[in-house]
Symmetry: C2
Subunit: 312 residues, 2 copies
Amino acid sequence: MSDETPLGPGREFDLVRVMMARWGDRARGIGDDATSLDLPPGEQLVVSTDTSLEDVHFRREWLSPEEIGWRATAAALSDLAAMAAKPLGVLVALTLPPAWLDELGALAEGIAAATSAAGAPIVGGDLTNGAPLALTLTVLGTTAAPLRRSGAQPGDTLWVTGQLGGPALAIAAWSEGRQPTPEARARFARPVPRIREAQWLAAAGATAGIDISDGLGGDAAHLAAASGVRITIEAEAVPRITGADVSTAQRSGEEYELLVTTRKSFDAVAFQRTFGLSLTRIGAVERGDAGVDLLIGGERVASPAGYDHYSQ
Amino acid sequence: MSDETPLGPGREFDLVRVMMARWGDRARGIGDDATSLDLPPGEQLVVSTDTSLEDVHFRREWLSPEEIGWRATAAALSDLAAMAAKPLGVLVALTLPPAWLDELGALAEGIAAATSAAGAPIVGGDLTNGAPLALTLTVLGTTAAPLRRSGAQPGDTLWVTGQLGGPALAIAAWSEGRQPTPEARARFARPVPRIREAQWLAAAGATAGIDISDGLGGDAAHLAAASGVRITIEAEAVPRITGADVSTAQRSGEEYELLVTTRKSFDAVAFQRTFGLSLTRIGAVERGDAGVDLLIGGERVASPAGYDHYSQ
């Protein structure tokens, strides 16, 4: 907190001080109306904003406050990974209900743990007394060459990081009054934005990329629409966590794994050795109407739509 | 929308399209996971985030949807003015209740009108199906030399733009079941971030600055704390809108006028001629314990605290 502006008096600032005590030197430049930052010469700024809302994106009985803070931050940082950008900083806008006041320190700790893991300082924020609990994280990053959704070309191959299905299994378990397996629960509660993995993939020749937030089928459709291509996914090739079937892996959202295309092939062994994470070829990019086909048992079927918050 | 990435299918994207139709070429780069931006060479990035929440910052019966969008955006942009930064772009995170679906276009129009007036494109956003209505605006700006809260020195003079008291009068009227005067209502519903005014003041020798969001007394205390100085305000010198008394002008928040210090003096006539807005000397910066004294009728009294969302 070396370059921090002293805060004025008042209860609201006392709460900011609760967060600052947890953040320590992981926060920079807090206390002025805005924060100023320098960019590496020759790099572009990359920005994204993402809201996590109680009873929409998570339930209090599912997660600890620390996990809620981590998850909201990781979800936002994942948009930097999707662009293969290096994190520059994070802004935290928090709507905090009175019933959550005692959890503020733990929420702040989870936010800071996720930013630290990604190498991003916390550079600003806003605190509102209201309900329900809402965390809007704005992430700033830099890159000389952003990876876009629109760069996929016919002839490219399609790849995914990690194993899918965990968040859908966890939500299904909680919804049925069961506890999810530790593996499925961790995939929902502690997702990891694939920041460094994305930079590796971009350097290794990725042509387009997106993070899986709406489900593999839905995000593949976004990528297909942006690139104006037909994407074919070999459903049985999609890596799944224990207990997830082919359909679950297709529609499970908020995975924050990466879906990328490349002209030829990636060295999946080198990727696995570097990150301890699988990288799997799951399909191909073809000429045709923008959209997605699933191949299941050799049969071509229409892709299920991704999760749509407004279609429920 | 020339450089826009095509959006995928789904109801959520239909709603994004409702906003895009209103925004036209006032939005740029929407549709990817994040947006990339170039900074002017030699300038720093300035960032801030600000939430406006239904029934906390505004009530539906007070404002039109277009005014709600304008006001939330202007409030966030005002933090760029406080730093004397030029706007680079705005990100819009919107939590939209089902009961507000039909108002989305008008909300979007208000957001775009405020960004246009400030010369800032809309460069990203997020849409969540939830309640209550919440708008978290993140603003990005650039400057070669940010104006900070911490630069005031003993011997400086203290200045304020515009006339204060309007928002407090408007809220008081609504709370008592009356309609506010058009002048007071406009100050609440259509605040103007003093973007260009701040750049003029910085160029003319401002040493420190803050925008008045917590009330003159509260924000002067923030400035005093950050600079480690004693600030004296001549209460009767503070310009007020019709109907506002000295006390109302002290505590009225969400004014989004500027409070600045300077070594010598500003040319208030030239400022008024340029912007059609008053610039008034209202006090002085002195050595002493960090804090604020009010002079009322020659008597030195303690300053009333600013509005504190968590002390109610």
